[in-house]
């Protein structure tokens, strides 16, 4: 049981390049989230999904796109990377449908992205 897995862990991009971050969870969770964390700051929600085929905007969605074609995967895309998108990106998931389990959020280990 791997939990929440993010790939890649580290990436350096040039301004204007595109890339996709992949998040995979094996807990059969309905909800998935992408956050970014800048140095010394809290986490800000980029996009989230409440089920397969659904996505919704978070606090800072501009410059990012997401897709949830399969329940276990949530992809975050940067179409034209900018230095302001240099950050650590965290994927998270929650809610297996069990009321007893509640909506506890589980995080991946993070993906360090640098845009030069």
């Amino acid at each position: 049981n791997a939990g929440v897995t993010q790939t890649p862990k580290f990436r350096v991009l040039k301004t204007g390049q595109s890339m996709t971050l992949l998040c995979a969870q094996d807990m059969n969770h309905e909800y998935m989230y992408w956050y970014r964390q800048d140095p010394g700051m809290g986490l800000r929600l980029i996009h989230y999904s409440v089920g397969e085929g659904t996505t919704a905007k978070g606090e800072v969605p501009d410059g990012y796109n997401v897709s949830r074609l399969k329940k276990q995967n949530f992809l975050l895309g940067l179409e034209s990377a900018a230095p302001s998108q240099t950050s650590v990106y965290f994927c998270a998931s929650s809610y297996s449908g069990s009321r007893k389990a509640g909506n506890t959020i589980y995080f991946g280990e993070g993906s360090w992205l640098t845009v030069v």
Binding site: G42, L43, L45, A56
Partner: protein
């Protein structure tokens, strides 16, 4: 949307001391969670606590939803407790979890 504020922003303790971290939220919530981010960046869920009190070892948490705050208690602190503590709550009627700015804790040996 909901605003989540944490205090204090920074805290330095001697090993063995107790501490209380506070999380205030601007709207009624049916869910609140506490997390610990260790010095290596890993985020671990400590409590899922929409209301009431829960305990897990030296840590406990209390949420008073009607008064819009939650407290995290750390007793007999250890150096391994160092890191940043975050609380998070969803905007009403959604699963859009908003995080506070965190309390940075350093426990000295």
């Amino acid at each position: 949307g909901i605003q989540v504020e944490q205090s204090p922003p920074d805290l330095i303790l001697q090993e063995g001391a107790n501490s209380t971290l506070r999380c205030n939220f601007s709207d009624s919530v049916n869910n609140l969670q506490w997390f610990h981010q260790n010095p290596w960046g890993q985020l671990i869920n400590l409590f899922y606590i929409p209301s009431g009190t829960k305990q897990n070892g030296r840590l406990s948490a209390t949420t008073v939803a009607t008064e819009r705050y939650s407290l995290l208690y750390i007793s007999s602190s250890q150096t391994t407790d160092s890191g940043v503590y975050f609380c998070a709550a969803p905007t009403s009627g959604t699963y859009k979890y908003i995080f506070g700015t965190g309390t940075r804790l350093k426990v000295l040996a």
